[in-house]
């Protein structure tokens, strides 16, 4: 008899009737063969593995995380409510101790969705992991969370959402941004002035294989996690590092994903990308589920798997080692560097241009943060798109100090509706969302 070591939960929502458009990688067919494999392997019958029906998130859940312009309904479809809801269902099941670990095998994905949402970027509209985390923080009072994003693309949306949050450790391990969308995620992206060091990027060279990924997990990610001591570890489990993925250039495998899952021991995994729908996803997902449940996955592999062919070049191994060393040294010296880089004034600003590739929108942002050693800091975002939609978004973080709360309300109060189409205030301590 086969039995799981860890009580493991699964939300499987393949959204068989939703696509960005008919030939888009994010289409109805994406999880079809994964379903076939999961069903045929009898995974849902395994004692200790439970399948849950996804709850839908609410607009309030989304507004706890995002500023949707002009409103939630305009930038989401029902599938996004279900996909984020699937992650939330798993998160709640873990917190309620119904399961020890869980995997939300849902689509569409979310890790390219940033705090302000004007449309769809990198196939993502809303950040399903962040919506789950912020819900769990509110409902269960947890504070320290780590997100390990193993999708092949830099998780720039999640990075943006937690850039100023010292309570969230965000680690993204991905194909080097010089060679792949979205072109970010370099080693020196380490977080905002109030949360310096809790953003970590591990860009890997193209053609990294099992050896390189697992090295980075073991030697870099795990020690940092052990230092940070999160209450909850989330894996943004993208599967596009696979050697057969059509839109990336890595050499990872189903065995590698299973090993990675086994090493990381995340409490919650959420599916992100992965577009080799026949050659990779069926095997990778089976491997991840078994590894989470603590079941022997040694016989899981792709039909055409050949570890010899996938061996990485020695030069790549060397590069990966150097990257890892550098990341670790930044981590160890983060407090000192933070002090050194600390801006002089009470506020600091950055200007950014954000491109929504899927929807063809360009957004210009002026972001202002209150420098604060007591909390994540009040945040003010003046955002305008090339089609002229201008908004102001004010965010008061969950554990904001009094001064930052007052600053947030002052910004919100002072802003004039003649200057902005919409003015939003996200008051996390009060769990309120105001619009004017």
């Amino acid at each position: 008899m086969i039995k799981s070591k860890n009580r493991t939960g699964l939300v499987f929502f393949p959204a068989f009737d939703w696509a960005i458009d008919p030939t888009h990688p994010e289409r109805e067919e994406r999880l079809l063969y994964t379903q076939d494999q999961v069903f045929e392997e009898g995974i849902l019958d395994i004692e200790g593995i439970t399948e849950f029906k996804p709850d839908l998130v609410t607009a309030t859940d989304i507004q706890r995380t995002h500023f949707c312009v002009p409103d939630v309904w305009s930038v989401t479809t029902e599938s996004h409510f279900i996909s984020a809801g699937g992650a939330k269902t798993i998160g709640m099941a873990v917190m309620d101790k119904k399961i020890e670990r869980g995997f939300a095998l849902v689509r569409p994905p979310g890790h390219h969705a940033m705090r302000v949402v004007h449309g769809c970027r990198g196939f993502c509209n809303i950040n399903i992991e962040a919506i789950m985390i912020e819900y769990l923080r509110k409902a269960y009072g947890i504070r320290r969370v780590a997100i390990v994003d193993t999708d092949c693309h830099h998780g720039d949306g999640t990075q943006d959402l937690y850039w100023h949050d010292p309570d969230t450790l965000f680690i993204s391990i991905h194909q080097d941004g010089r060679t792949l969308y979205p072109g970010s995620g370099f080693i020196n992206e380490l977080g905002g002035p109030n949360a310096f060091g809790t953003t970590i990027n591990i860009p890997l060279p193209p053609y990294t294989s099992e050896e390189g990924f697992l090295y980075s997990i073991e030697k870099v990610v795990l020690p940092i996690l052990a230092d940070f001591k999160p209450e909850l570890v989330i894996n943004s489990a993208g599967q596009d590092n696979h050697y057969s993925d059509p839109i990336t250039n890595m050499n990872f495998s189903a065995q590698g994903y299973a090993r990675l899952t086994d090493m990381l021991k995340a409490d919650i995994a959420v599916l992100e990308g992965g577009y080799s729908i026949e050659g990779a996803l069926p095997y990778v997902n089976a491997g991840i589920i078994l590894a989470m449940a603590g079941i022997d996955y040694s016989h899981i592999h792709e039909p055409d798997y050949d570890p010899v062919r996938m061996r990485q070049a020695r030069s790549i191994t060397q590069q990966i080692k150097e990257i890892g060393d550098k990341v670790l040294s930044y981590w160890q010296e983060r407090e000192a560097i933070k002090e050194k880089l600390r801006p002089a004034g009470p506020f600091t600003e950055r200007n950014r241009r954000i491109f929504y590739d899927t929807d063809g929108i360009t957004e210009t942002q002026r972001e202002k943060i209150r420098i604060c050693s007591d909390c994540g800091g009040a945040l003010r975002i003046d955002s305008e798109t090339d089609s002229g939609a201008r908004i102001l978004a004010v965010h008061i973080p969950m554990h904001a100090c009094r001064a930052c709360q007052e600053t947030g309300y002052r910004w919100f109060g002072e802003a004039r509706t003649t200057d902005f189409g919409k003015i939003y205030l996200q008051d996390r301590p009060k769990d309120e969302y105001l619009v004017k």
Partner: protein
């Protein structure tokens, strides 16, 4: 006229129906050690004084195969399992002679790794050497491409009496269940075949040359001939008989919970608009998870004869049964004794029941009447809470499309129908303790046999098209055809219904009037490779709904009216 016979653990219930009347109903004691005798006795007693030529149909539901499996009384069979990459097939071992072999087919039915004929022949030699006569052959994804299973059979067919192939059992994807189900079919084949050949011979001798139908767990019937190749389908038909019995009298305008309160267990099911719900996966029995289609039923160890105890100051009921109630000569107090002590049941020895409840009353420090009340309420409340759980489980079933999630029909029963020995007593109390409307099924003591008699032939067909590969296939039906790129979902549905009709009429010997068909799955995907649509992946599953045969509505109506009077 129709005979319906349902073998239960203690009684075998038999009814004789014509188009207007329940002509006769009897109960004979089941002799577990000689079921054949019990069946024969039931059949010969119900037909006493009846012209055998007037009997048109016999439907049997027995515990034969269920008992064989539960007791592990199965012959040596051989299992040959071809897995390919995935979970190690050693986890799915069913029995001693279990051989994982090379060979692999993928999710689209493409051959990834060939079989090794020498390996198969060597396994065959081992099995034959061990005296094995029945063999099961199962491949992963064989319901997409059965060629490896067929090849293995070809290599070994001369050496064994019967070889069972996994892809013929179900079109569903679930390799471990396919293995277990194929194993069970092979293992109960000899006992099933021997038994029903004997029944048929005996009926022939009595001048009844009528079609014999066998009840399945999904509440439908199949012909005796068909059952010989799929004996596993007869497992756990008992609860299905009861549900079909309730079906005959159920309203069609609402959802209903069916409760069959027996001696040892209470079996529960849900009717949606008069139609019983099917379990999406399959029967579980004695640790075997199978692909055997069944009604969605839930069984709890709480019946009229369950043992009542006080544990740490709390009353408990069941899950064990130690014999009849004390009022009927048993040795331990039961819910039935509570009914006797409360004068609800009056044909027993009340003094014995009261004596049985006394120690419980003393421990609880309350009167005997109060103890009996509490037992009765506890039994009813547990049945109510378990049935609520069942409804919640049905409603929590995951769905995979936005449409289904959005439109998802939620079962919301407000009516309970009760059958089984103590049905009327429980019905009253269940109604008092809940907000349900509670009805007793007419002829509640033999409604199960009525259900068996009136059940129609059911079956299911799974059709799979992959137009990129140019194939249309239903391996379970031995159907395969090449199709063009323009093959459509509509054509697939038409083909599925055609195959279903054929299966029901030929193999199930169904009546054309009883072919109430519906789609269970209807999915179509564009297959995109690169930026081009290269084909369509179509999945259709169709079934003949479980229900009652045409032309016998008048009997049910009459019995209902009779019950209301």
């Amino acid at each position: 006229m129709i005979i319906g016979l349902d073998v239960g653990g203690t009684h075998t219930d038999v009814v004789l129906l014509d188009q207007e009347n329940l002509v006769n109903q009897i109960k004979v004691r089941t002799d577990e050690s000689d079921l054949f005798q019990s069946v024969l006795e039931g059949l010969s007693r119900i037909t006493e004084g009846v012209d055998p030529k007037r009997i048109e149909r016999v439907v049997l539901s027995t515990t034969l195969t269920t008992n064989a499996i539960v007791q592990g009384a199965m012959p040596n069979v051989g299992m040959i399992v071809s897995s390919g990459p995935g979970i190690d097939p050693k986890f799915f071992r069913t029995n001693e002679h279990y051989y994982p072999v090379a060979g692999s087919i993928d999710h689209r039915g493409r051959r990834i790794e060939p079989l090794d004929p020498d390996e198969i022949k060597a396994v065959g030699k081992n099995l034959a050497g061990a005296g094995v006569r029945y063999v099961g052959v199962v491949g992963k994804f064989s319901s997409r491409n059965p060629s490896h299973e067929l090849e293995i059979r070809k290599l070994l067919r001369d050496q064994f009496e019967h070889i069972f192939l996994g892809h013929r059992i179900s079109g569903n994807l679930n390799f471990p269940r396919r293995i277990a189900t194929t194993f069970l079919n092979a293992a109960v084949y000899p006992v099933h075949k021997e038994f029903f050949t004997a029944v048929k011979r005996s009926l022939d001798r009595h001048g009844m040359k009528v079609p014999i139908h066998i009840l399945k767990a999904d509440g439908g019937t199949m012909s005796l001939d068909y059952s010989i190749d799929f004996p596993g389908q007869t497992i756990l038909s008992g609860p299905a008989a009861s549900v079909m019995g309730a079906c005959a009298f159920a309203p069609e305008d609402r959802d209903v919970i069916v409760l069959d309160i027996g001696g040892t267990t209470t079996d529960m099911a849900v009717l949606m608009g008069g139609v019983p719900l099917i379990d999406p996966f399959g029967i579980e029995l004695s640790g075997y998870k199978t692909l055997i289609r069944s009604l969605n039923t839930r069984s709890i160890g709480l019946g009229g004869d369950s043992v009542v105890r006080v544990i740490q100051g709390q009353l408990t009921i069941g899950p064990d049964r130690l014999g009849p109630a004390m009022g009927y000569g048993g040795s331990a107090p039961t819910p039935t004794d509570a009914l006797i002590a409360l004068d609800i049941v009056t044909d027993a020895e009340k003094a014995r029941s009261v004596a049985g409840l006394e120690p419980l009353a003393l421990t609880l420090g309350i009167s005997i009447a109060e103890t009996a009340e509490r037992i009765f309420n506890l039994a009813c409340d547990r049945i109510l809470s378990e049935s609520a759980k069942m409804v919640a489980q049905i409603n929590a079933k995951p769905v995979y499309t936005i449409h289904e999630l959005h439109e998802g029909y939620q079962v919301d029963p407000k009516t309970i129908m009760v059958l089984g020995g103590p049905a009327p007593y429980f019905a009253k109390r269940l109604a008092q303790n809940s907000s349900y409307e509670v009805r007793t099924v007419p002829r509640w003591k033999v409604a199960n046999a009525i259900g068996a008699a009136l059940a129609r032939a059911t079956c299911e067909v799974t059709l799979f098209a992959d137009t990129e590969r140019g194939i249309l296939t239903a391996p379970e039906e031995k159907f395969k055809k090449n199709v063009g790129r323009d093959f459509s979902r509509d054509e697939a549905v038409e083909k599925a219904f055609e195959l279903l009709k054929e299966k029901a009429l030929v193999k199930g010997e169904a009546n054309a009037q009883d072919l109430e068909m519906e789609l269970l799955e209807d999915l179509q995907f564009n297959m995109v490779r690169g930026f081009d649509t290269t084909g369509k992946n179509i999945r259709i599953k169709a079934q003949v709904k479980p229900g009652l045969i045409h032309g016998y509505g008048a009997v049910a109506k009459k019995l209902s009216e009779e019950a209301e009077r």
